[in-house]
Symmetry: C2
Subunit: 576 residues, 2 copies
């Protein structure tokens, strides 16, 4: 029981059979074939030699297959994380250089540590705070940045390496007469081929076909000599065990990027994993175990020359469609990459960078979410504004500033929403013992001398001020006739010390104005907290009631005691 939690793979290994194997083999091979060009292309986004994309497609896949809770998630290099890697360490070292590579690997280690610790301390809930429009705006902008950043490879020109879309486009236009025609034709040809093959049949491995055709063309026509930029000699063999060197100053400098990657990559991965899981139901996704698994995949990967990886959107979808049943599919994919590294790397010598740019451009184009913009235009302009602000900020200010803004916007909304829960004034439903929102039902009327309120949230520091303000407003609306207030506390499932202090102040102040306080439906833990702080004594135990009706009856016949009600229909059950 216990070990399954830490190594979820045990669940599927224990009853693994030929049914699963068939699906896993097909899916694993399909994804592996997709991974070869994608891995190399995404490494290029990250500013790394393409082979590092393959290194990142070995050990991390194996680790995730064993420790992850999703059975279809395809882990490996992804476009967004590669872009974040490039922007983060681009300012610290020259792309492709020794120190650049070791920074990218150190980054994987730090990202992995952050994710592992978040998972180990059960802090997975923290990442549920980014709103969908913010993520969508950010993703679209990042996709645009990635696409535009590949212009240099597609056009065969040199660009200064900025990460702002308008700067890159202006630079590219200025160099329009320096476009290298063979490169450009290869790149455009690649894009057209991939798109057309995809339209004919989604099962055709278009990426791989484009890559091998391009290699063939470059080799046969000797295009490298005309100036087509090629990958060149690729080291053969598996990545080697190298513990990434980490100085404190490096850790500090990489930290903002690492935090951004840890957050963004987990959110992407978790969202995909949940979406796929909802189609299967034979297992559950656990956010904290996902963090642990991705964290260890990154840590383990970093010790074997891998840069940051995560669960990717497109490959996971393909994996699932191709019939993946368990993590075995990922093991098959990893094996294919390992075989490629061992035997096929000489083939990649003539691989033109332009075709990798084609692979990237086709992949990121689908991330630009125009449909969501149209949808929000019709349904929720407020969320649309958030999407656009994040989109524009990411394009103009930069990718990390875009994330930071998205985080701040989302937190601001959470604070706004959480500080303003629903508060209702209740009145009696005629002829019954029940009390409902006076604003919502015609027959329900409030009394002049009695205020019954229901606060639909736990009471704590973030909303106690709002609670007090609302209460004051309702009291002043009632005017001088008000004799008593009943707080229906059924929805209040916890109360913290800040709220308790405030409540004490409110009760004392109302007593000073001769307004009695009753509480109804107070649940177990809240009652315990009231006892500990003596607030129960302050309010008076006789002023606590099971239901609003009991409190109203008591209030209207003040000589009677709580125990003498004619009709106590509701009895307390287990205290939650």
């Amino acid at each position: 029981m216990k070990i399954n939690q830490y190594i979820p793979a045990i669940d599927w290994i224990s009853d693994y059979g030929s049914t699963q194997l068939k699906g896993d083999l097909t899916a694993g091979l399909t994804v592996g074939i997709m991974l070869i060009p994608q891995g190399m292309a995404y490494a290029m986004i990250a500013g790394l030699p393409p082979i590092y994309g393959l290194y990142a497609s070995t050990l991390p896949l194996i680790i995730y297959a064993l420790l992850g809770t999703s059975r279809q998630l395809a882990v490996g290099p992804v476009a967004m994380v590669s872009l974040l890697t490039a922007t983060g360490i681009g300012a610290m070292a020259e792309a492709d250089s020794e120190s650049y590579i070791s920074l990218a690997i150190a980054l994987a280690l730090i990202v992995g540590l952050i994710q592992f610790l978040l998972g180990a301390f059960r802090l997975g809930f923290l990442v549920s705070f980014l709103s969908h429009p913010v993520i969508s705006g950010f993703t679209s902008a990042a996709a645009l940045i990635i696409g535009v950043s590949q212009l240099k490879h597609l056009l065969g020109i040199k660009l200064s390496g900025g990460h702002r879309v308008h700067e890159i486009i202006i630079e590219a236009i200025q160099q329009i007469n320096q476009i290298h025609l063979p490169t450009f034709l290869l790149g455009i040809g690649g894009i057209v081929l991939i798109v057309v093959l995809k339209m004919i049949n989604r099962r055709i491995p278009g990426l791989l076909i484009a890559v091998f055709l391009a290699i063939l063309v470059v080799w046969v026509f000797n295009l490298a000599e005309t100036g087509v930029s090629i990958v060149g000699s690729v080291p053969q063999g598996l990545p080697s065990l190298q513990w990434p060197g980490l100085e404190m100053s490096t850790v500090g400098a990489l930290m903002p990027t690492a935090l951004a990657i840890a957050l963004v990559s987990f959110m992407e991965s978790y969202a995909v994993a949940k979406a796929i899981q909802s189609k299967h139901k034979d297992y559950k996704i656990d956010a904290n175990q996902e963090l642990v698994a991705l964290g260890l995949a990154n840590i383990g990967g970093a010790t074997f020359q891998s840069y940051p990886v995560t669960g990717g959107f497109s490959r996971t979808a393909v994996n699932d469609e191709a019939g993946a049943k368990t993590g075995m599919a990922s093991l098959v994919s990893a094996l294919l990459i390992i075989l490629t590294l061992l035997f096929l790397t000489p083939l990649f010598h003539f691989l033109p960078n332009a075709i990798l740019a084609s692979v990237i451009m086709v992949a990121v184009f689908s991330l630009i979410d125009v449909k969501e913009i149209k949808h929000l235009w019709r349904t929720n302009r407020y969320d649309l504004a958030m999407l656009i602000v994040t989109f524009v900020a990411t394009l103009i200010l930069g990718i990390e500033q875009g994330i930071a803004l998205g985080v701040i916007l989302s937190l601001a909304i959470i604070i706004w929403k959480t500080t303003r829960p629903h508060v209702a004034e209740l009145g009696q439903v005629p002829g019954t013992e029940f009390y409902r929102n006076i604003k919502r039902f015609k027959q329900v009327k409030a009394k002049r001398d009695l205020l019954i309120i229901r606060f639909d949230a736990q009471l704590y520091f973030a909303n106690i001020g709002y609670f007090r303000d609302q209460l004051e407003e309702m009291i002043s609306t009632k005017g001088d006739e008000l004799k008593a207030i009943i707080i229906n506390a059924e929805s209040i499932n916890s109360i913290d010390s800040t709220a308790m202090h405030a409540l004490e102040g409110i009760v004392k102040e109302l007593r000073g104005r001769s307004i009695e306080i009753y509480m109804s439906g107070v649940i177990g833990p809240v009652r315990d907290a009231l006892v500990k702080t003596n607030l129960l004594d302050l309010i008076g135990e006789k002023n606590f009631f099971m239901s609003v009706h009991d409190a109203v009856e008591y209030h209207e016949s003040p000589t009677s005691q709580g125990s003498t009600h004619k009709d106590i229909t509701l009895q307390s059950n287990v205290q939650e």
Copy 2:
């Protein structure tokens, strides 16, 4: 009507009379007399020449008196903000130097701009997110740091200027044989005198008496020549109009400190203002107008050589106790300081720094909140842990790191709480049309084929995942007998696009499993949102009901239509 909102002082000016004047005069003079020593002492905490504490006690008080919504809040230099000023700019320039002074003034300008903009954009709600234990832990640690930082003045020794308590104490102990005895005796004598006078009668201006006695002693016994450090020549006259020079690089460097001060100073000020207001009731506190008023007080102050100010805890309490009725009291205090600057500054030549240290130590000692620690120990260990973590982090890591940790801790709790609202499964109260939480009432039972749930929060990106998880868990508990789900949406007062997407997915998936979805009590704005996104059509308009009972009846006689219920007791009222 409108202008009162921007200049709240108009409200009290319009019916100002001798009753108010009497209280305001007494209070204004009392606070002014307190401000002279406190202002100079707090400037010393900030690393500024004492006279700058008096400068900061002129124009800002006048601006706040006119624009602030509190009528008793005493604005001016406070200990915490002074400490933040010192830690923030201490690394950028030498204390007391020209450039240090101009940085402190530039800081006031930036703090003012931040506060003004937050208020102008109605973002005052954002500052309600710090939890009380976090503030308490931070305040106690800051008080300790401030107290210990004055050891050098109290002992007449030189310290290297660190801001960590243990470092300062170790350094002080190492220099124990260099203590300057006359300085030490003056300082200790000052502390004893202030405390004793306070114990005899809180109305005695103990601070001022101690200050003038100390000046007298230093002058008569010529103590300055024995090495007692004195304030020295103090420029006479009012602060002059000097627009603070601001380069972009300076703004960037000051920004973290400015944000911390803007946040902490507003929270202190707002908390005090609210506490005092609750005793008066003849006016209201508006968070956004408070931000505007404090912001303009800082901006205006900065143009007349003032460093950051805010509403202070102790002087506001004294102001109120002494009978302040309106902002006139603050105008009187400001006038007293102006007269002091014009005529009395030569008196301060012989003022020993040690007595200012006494003033500070007595003031900050009361900020160390041992009572709250004891209280939380008995009532809420979880909140106590937060307090202690913030306290220790502030002491060990530093004051700005302490704030940052407090902010992160508070946000983490908000996210935790807001992502986990109260969800209840409802069942019918026998013999009635009403439905209550099955966990809380004995007679209320759930049915096997029907799940009725109530979600006590607005549905949005931060909690939609929790909503789905809870729903799934309840569904799997019900098992295969489940035929329909009724979502009681009475407490859901808004729904965003992320939640809408998820809801669509949930409905489609449940349909796929032949589980019918009903919604009851959906309120106006949520219904509008459902219409816009076609979710109303997807669920089916006939599946929407006013009450849970209507939905249950419909479900149990599936041939009947919503309009043919025997007994529709509740009719819709105005749509909220």
